[in-house]
């Protein structure tokens, strides 16, 4: 009997287009939008070789050699250099074909066409060159035997801080958005939770009244309904996560089992959140849906859906809220799974999520356990 009721509830929920939209299609659509936006960000983030011109003069310095040697990282040349006369350099700058030009000489001078990151890099390069030359000339006048050592040293570039990651993954700031989006998708399971409570409570719907008259223990029905809601919600989230992983190539790491476990627990959290809201709020179903969706959006915003800075601000200023905000707990769980080798933080987070879910379940149980109503 329980299986039959569970199956019928699945049928009902799979035809609930509104809830399916929020739990599956909306996250898929939003993740697609994110991927378009972030692909542009990444392009902008990569430094391109800067076009410059150098006007040679009779008194040549070492700036041409230094510019030719300058590189981003190991391979990428910092400057693409044209050696021209000053009039041509001015023309090139006017046409916007170069970021700026350097007039070589005893004291090289820089002409740039405007502001921007490329102009800033070029200016920093020239400043750095002039400082080094000045340093060498001071050392040459006071301590000539150290000049060669200084020249050798200034030619080398060293990183004194090295980025390491135990999981071997490069930090990717966009992941936090996708994790927050998945948290949003899981919490949108609240819509299914709302439907389940509406359909079982005599004071919420005519269907609820009819079901309450039937010779079935209410707790049994509630369990059937909530399990059906969780099943549909988990499937929606798995569809969304599959889309992100295989279509958008979002990396969720190699701990697939734990990612699925997180999705399941987060979906339970979302469904019970909605069930709790429906059982305590004395409003009609549409109003509770609107309240729930707004609450989920706010919780997701506070977990960094729109801006990761908000997440860190909440964690710094209201740490206790960060530990009870389900959206934040879900986001962090994915984050820890991806970046951290040790699972200690992940499991702590999962325990927090389970506790929050148990609170939702307890409130729902106490609010719905009555079998008679004061008014209908």
């Amino acid at each position: 009997m329980m299986l039959r009721l569970y199956y019928m509830r699945l049928k009902c929920l799979f035809r609930n287009k509104e809830s399916l939209f929020w739990s599956a299609l909306f996250p898929i659509f939003l993740s697609f939008v994110f991927s378009l936006v972030f692909s542009n960000f990444e392009k902008e983030e990569q430094f391109a070789t800067i076009n410059i011109a150098i006007v040679e003069s009779q008194e040549q310095s070492y700036i041409i050699d230094a510019a030719k040697e300058a590189k981003y990282g190991e391979d990428t040349a910092m400057f693409d250099i044209q050696q021209v006369n000053e009039n041509d350099a001015k023309d090139l700058l006017k046409k916007g074909e170069i970021t700026g030009y350097i007039v070589d000489g005893e004291k090289p001078s820089l002409y740039i066409g405007g502001s921007g990151i490329e102009a800033t890099i070029l200016k920093s390069f020239v400043d750095n060159y002039l400082q080094t030359v000045k340093k060498i000339s001071i050392v040459a006048s006071t301590n000539p035997e150290k000049v060669q050592e200084l020249i050798n040293g200034s030619m080398k570039r060293a990183d004194y801080i090295s980025d390491t990651n135990v999981s071997g993954r490069a930090p990717n700031f966009t992941l936090i958005y996708y994790y927050a989006l998945l948290a949003l998708a899981c919490l949108y399971g609240s819509n299914f939770g709302i439907t389940e409570i509406s359909d079982i409570q005599a004071d919420k719907s005519a269907k609820g009244a009819r079901i309450n008259v039937a010779p079935v223990h209410k707790l049994k029905l509630l369990i059937c309904n909530i399990f059906a809601a969780i099943t549909v919600q988990v499937l929606c989230v798995l569809v969304a996560i599959t889309f992100m992983a295989y279509v958008l190539s979002i990396d969720f790491g190699s701990r697939v089992g734990l990612v699925v476990l997180t999705c399941v627990l987060a979906s339970i959290c979302g469904v019970t959140f909605g069930a709790m809201l429906r059982s305590v709020l004395k409003k009609n179903e549409k109003t509770v849906n609107a309240i729930s969706n707004a609450a989920v959006l706010i919780l997701s915003f506070l977990s960094g859906l729109m801006n990761p800075e908000v997440k860190y601000m909440v964690a710094d200023n209201i740490p206790i809220f960060a530990k009870i905000n389900p959206a934040n707990l879900i986001t962090d769980s994915f984050y820890y799974l991806y970046y951290f080798d040790s699972l200690d933080r992940y499991w702590f987070n999962i325990v927090c999520m389970v506790l929050v879910t148990l609170v939702f379940v307890a409130i729902t149980y106490f609010a719905t356990r009555r079998r008679q109503y004061a008014s209908i």
Binding site: M1, K11, C12, D199, A206, V213, A214, P215, V216, Q372
Partner: protein
């Protein structure tokens, strides 16, 4: 005795919704609960079904105390709510199947009962339709099928014909008669007196949470002093004529609007003859003539001083 309600009191804060209400419903009868909107009919039904808490009194169904967990009693009850209580996401067949499966365990039996219920409400051609695609009347029939598929012994219908077209209403009323002929006891609440007159063996008239009268149609009509109501089409009545008609023996009231005169008589014989004789003797021209026996609305009017549909 199928249902026995004794001294039921239900309060919503200061409002007394049911005021020491008592009812006894015999096996196999169609029992009508008649009353205006807000009189306490649905509250009575919800208390009988143990959905609502009540402050005082007792309810027995099939000789046992009714409680929320009295599953053995609930198994034999079917409920058809005033609001259509079906799932928009399930087809006609699946809706009936779902509600039937809350009562019956054997899947084969559920399928058989579902088919029978579909046939009973003549929805064979709409099995795969979703409720949103059904007209108001068909939806009401689906609502009934969901409530009776498990073949209950006691069927409670709470205003099942509200906002239903006359054709569907007749189908529904015919269906209720058939269910009763099949052995089910019916409790039927409505504020349409015509339905109660057409359908019910016994009637309780409720107002302000109290049973103000109960019995068969005839018993109820005998409770009041009003006899027949005579309506005559005439254009020639003077004030003097009206006063003279009022003085005819057994006449209770006379109302004239320039076209028709409505004469209400008290109980007694030959009231119509006396009125017609008066018109003939005075040679007052007459058009159409109607004579009606008292209705339940007259009963309600005489007891409460207001119309049933006020």
């Amino acid at each position: 005795m199928v249902v026995k309600v004794n001294n039921l009191v239900k309060r919503y804060e200061k409002l007394v919704a049911l005021d020491h209400l008592s009812l006894e419903i015999q096996e196999g009868e169609i029992f009508g609960l008649l009353g205006p909107n807000g009189s306490g009919k649905s509250t009575t039904i919800n208390c009988i079904l143990s959905l609502l808490k009540y402050d005082k009194g007792s309810i027995e169904i099939f000789g046992k105390q009714m409680r929320p967990d009295a599953y053995d009693i609930k198994r034999d009850i079917g409920i058809i709510m005033q609001n259509v209580a079906v799932f928009n996401e399930l087809t006609v067949y699946d809706n009936i199947y779902y509600f039937c499966s809350l009562y019956v365990k054997d899947p084969k039996e559920i399928r058989r009962l579902t088919e029978e219920a579909i046939e009973f409400v003549s929805l064979e051609d709409f099995k795969k339709f979703y409720p949103k695609k059904l007209s108001g009347g068909l939806l009401r029939r689906l609502n009934i099928a969901c409530g009776i598929a498990h073949k209950p012994k006691l069927i409670i219908l709470d205003e099942p014909t509200v906002a239903v077209d006359p054709q569907s209403r007749n189908k529904i009323l015919e269906g209720i008669k058939k269910l009763n002929e099949g052995g089910a006891t019916i409790i039927y609440t409505t504020h349409y007196m015509e339905e109660v007159e057409q359908l019910c063996d016994r009637i309780a008239i409720i107002d302000k949470g109290k049973v103000i009268a109960s019995g068969t149609k005839e018993e109820l009509k005998n409770m009041i002093s009003l006899g027949e109501t005579i309506t005559l089409e005439t254009y020639h009545l003077t004030e003097e004529n009206i006063e003279e008609i009022k003085n005819i023996p057994n006449i209770a009231s006379v109302d004239y609007n320039g076209q028709t005169v409505v004469v209400k008589s008290k109980k007694g014989k030959n009231n119509l003859v006396h009125v017609l004789n008066y018109f003939e003797n005075r040679k007052i021209p007459m058009g159409k003539i109607y004579s009606e026996l008292p209705t339940l609305n007259d009963v309600f009017l005489e007891i409460t001083g207001k119309e049933l549909r006020d």
